[in-house]
Symmetry: C3
Subunit: 138 residues, 3 copies
């Protein structure tokens, strides 16, 4: 029986670093040998998010600048006070954007748009090691 | 073997146009003949999102006005500058809201609330043709 | 055949009340006897959302304060005017955050982070009874 799930291990720079997962997700879909279905991509941890976007420098910069404006790193944050921490903004952004997306595929190819990539965004305020879970569903 | 997936093709006006997909999604669930499971709804393209909301004129207007305020169409956007484009706000909104939702169903009926519809929101700044992927999972 | 879905019934205080669903979701996964897969968690209703976050008082307070600032309860809302209602802010927040997340599991355990819980956030402006749908997918 083929394995229907996999993990992507990666290092991020934190601070809103955006990592393109598309090839990694697609390789797990191909290895599953499932022809048609959907693949669920999930990041463990409460300071990172999964979404899809056009992975190009301008869009990455604009999304980061927008989140810096809407949910600033500096603020009167209770999480930071209670836990002697500094990443409350990362928790808030991750909770709003969410840690999972589910993407259809057909014959091993994600049915995404041409300019649409699966990305991890790491909002934490330091470099992190992340392990993304990829689950093939059919 | 019944087909377990389908597509919804539609034209949108862009500029935050909200399209109710509920009946289309439910018809694909019925055609699948699967009795119990969940259905994943995904929009290809990086300037549109899938979510659920009460599809009524007031809520549609309020969501649009809120996003216009939080992520304005006009702004100092690097995506627009680098790509001679005008829809960076659409990319940002789509990335924050996300392109997929997964909805349970039972005997062909979505288990949504009475005043809760599955919608596509097209944030692009021009009319678009969209093809939404619907994948039945059990 | 084991049942592959379940419901979590709960009372919320509304007004941004955050309820930890992790144990309830995990108990439905265990009861399904499915060893590996993903579980989809969905809230019916257009004034509540499902996400994951570190469920601790500081983070809960900071997320609430951020949403109060970005999408205020008081505002010039058409939904409230048209429907003689008072919860347009709740609809907007729920639509942005979304009603579903899909989470991988392995041998009955959610593959979430150590400080990452599955939560329902009830944005409505009054106490509510909620029934969350949990669907096990493999």
């Amino acid at each position: 029986m083929p394995v229907h799930s996999g993990e992507l291990r990666l290092s991020t720079a934190g601070n809103g670093d955006v990592v393109d997962l598309t090839d990694g997700v697609e390789s797990i879909v191909v290895a599953s040998a499932v022809q048609h279905g959907a693949v669920s991509v999930f990041v463990p941890g409460s300071t990172a998010a999964i979404t899809l976007m056009e992975y190009e420098p301008g869009g990455v910069q604009d999304l980061g600048a927008t989140l810096d404006r809407l949910v600033p790193q500096q603020g009167d944050y209770e999480h930071n006070r209670l836990n002697h921490d500094s990443n409350s903004h990362a928790h808030i952004r991750a909770a709003i954007m969410g840690p999972s997306e589910t993407i259809p595929f057909d014959r091993g190819r994600l049915r995404t748009g041409t300019w649409q990539q699966v990305v991890l965004i790491d909002f934490d305020d330091r470099p992190r090691e992340r392990t993304v879970s990829v689950q093939v569903l059919s």
